[in-house]
Symmetry: C2
Subunit: 380 residues, 2 copies
Amino acid sequence: MARSCTLLLSHKFQNSFVPSLCISKASPAFPMRTSTPFPSRFLTHTCFKSKSTTLSVSAAGTSFTWDDVLRISQPESLPDDPSDISGFFQKVKICNRGSEMQSEFLPFVIEDQIVGYLHNGFAQHLRRFKDVFIFPRDDSYGGRIGAHVTLHPMLGKPEDRTGAVGDVVKCLGEELIPGIRNELYPVTSSFGSRVFFSLERAAAPYFGIKAYGVHMNGYVERDRQKLLWIGKRSQGKATFPGMLDHLVAGGLPHGISCAENLVKECEEEAGIPRSIANEAIPVGAVSYMDIDGYRYKRDVLLCYDLKLPESFRPENQDGEVDSFKLIPARHVANVIRRTQFFKPNCSLVIIDFLFRHGYMKPEHFGYLDLLQSLRSGDCS
Amino acid sequence: MARSCTLLLSHKFQNSFVPSLCISKASPAFPMRTSTPFPSRFLTHTCFKSKSTTLSVSAAGTSFTWDDVLRISQPESLPDDPSDISGFFQKVKICNRGSEMQSEFLPFVIEDQIVGYLHNGFAQHLRRFKDVFIFPRDDSYGGRIGAHVTLHPMLGKPEDRTGAVGDVVKCLGEELIPGIRNELYPVTSSFGSRVFFSLERAAAPYFGIKAYGVHMNGYVERDRQKLLWIGKRSQGKATFPGMLDHLVAGGLPHGISCAENLVKECEEEAGIPRSIANEAIPVGAVSYMDIDGYRYKRDVLLCYDLKLPESFRPENQDGEVDSFKLIPARHVANVIRRTQFFKPNCSLVIIDFLFRHGYMKPEHFGYLDLLQSLRSGDCS
């Protein structure tokens, strides 16, 4: 099904993120918003702290080194209160922007089930592909624009849908959907349920489909303390170059199980052999919803823990990680609280680790709110 | 502030729960409902399984012994599929009944914040205490009855509110609010925030206030397997006599921290000395909302793990536990999936443990739904 590609694309996107080191009272890179999915008492708390005592190290401008990371991780390097968890809330907020823009999106419906959301402006680009997309004037799926988007009824089979939508994505081109990876994600209404078709990974946020990934914290136990293996992303990475990461992560493409995908990513990202990777245990999930222009990210990260032998040294195989360091978990907590060095969604995965391993305490103000905020997106 | 107690109370309550052993295809003790807080795909799945392959052992009728527990815990004792997690869903449902009755409740508002919910029928009993409760015709707090309940403006101080509401609770008597314990729970809008007054524990569900508790799984690690200490409640307990429990649990009364309360409960319930109890780590929380007649339980259970030395033997000090057994976690999982032997909310705490320790797998159908369902109540 070939389609002509003669659209004039005027909408520009900004995906780049350049790390830097600067200390500011309230980070200008991620200003506080007044409309978020979090309870107002948390906002009040965070804003109050931002105006008064909380220091935040921003990662926008220039690069930072391991020396910077290790210095700022030390308890005594900043005179802040370790029970102040507002720095964690801020990291959750960075992953959950734009909820006030939800009304600008149309539900994307397949066989009566909502599988995604498309921005009204993005949807305009799809209207000319009349043999692929149709726009019934029916708001019974909750869209506030009074319509929804679905596929042409002639596209009844998954492979037909995959081909037709894939052709449109190619037609729209890099200017509208940058970073095509030729990797297909399943389009479903919920995890493990029927796959209606498959969609190019880079297009997932433009169609607002849920994207699942496997994310693993690798740790070592020494003298009853836990130490986390932290990676620093290559400067050459297209997304979040030079930023910090937990040990292993990867999107979950169509047709591979979580367990098998994790073993593959363990090998590629950290040189962990299958015999050790098989010891990783699933421990739950975090989720977020982030609206940025036409993009509606609905990500669910399936979390894993792997306890590694003290003698193990991770070695990156695919050029995506520059280097690794083993850092006490409570020091990693300081890096997350105090800086924006971590790739944002990795912060959620590590905060989840900190909760499960006793590094967060109910006595810390905001404990339950922070716990809940780790699943701010539709986690299904 | 003395008040006359001349009410005729006609509403009867049933709190008793007598365990038994019987095997049935769908448990008549806890019939499936069509209206719940869970996604419909889960309901469909559960109902399908109930009609076909899942066996369920009910605990309503007569008592069961440790021999019954140990037998049913064995993988081979029932020919079911270990990846079928519908038995866990059923246990979550038992804790989360009656969401379709929410519209019968009035918001209970203090200083413009919702702190609880009262059944319209229960509220009728409070209307004659005009110097304590008032009923503004104002539905701005979301009540569907077109009004809310608040305290008389003369009751401005926490101690005045505690005294006045306490007097009313005593007046209403055991017939309306059975099981008075003379233990005060804080009335707040969220965990750790301002306490508006304190309320008798037994009255908490009748006022729909959130009740917090500390719940601890005690475990032993042997050959890389985890074994859980399981308690069997005394036959003399007023609630859930003879049923199974995790190692330590207790409500969180006003004026004591979670950590301190846990140490106290560890000592009372399992004879765990402070030196060991201090090693317990907070690991998150589960929550549920359960409507039963006039009672609206909104419970948040703060979860803890304690890794115990293999040599440790728990010993109950307060007569509330009959005996303990150390059972492999994966066998405990079978008991939860297959029976209703556990006190219902303890199932949630153990399912949370099973998630965090890798006994649940993303490959099991319903993994994310079950994970989310563990916080079906307002967990804040």
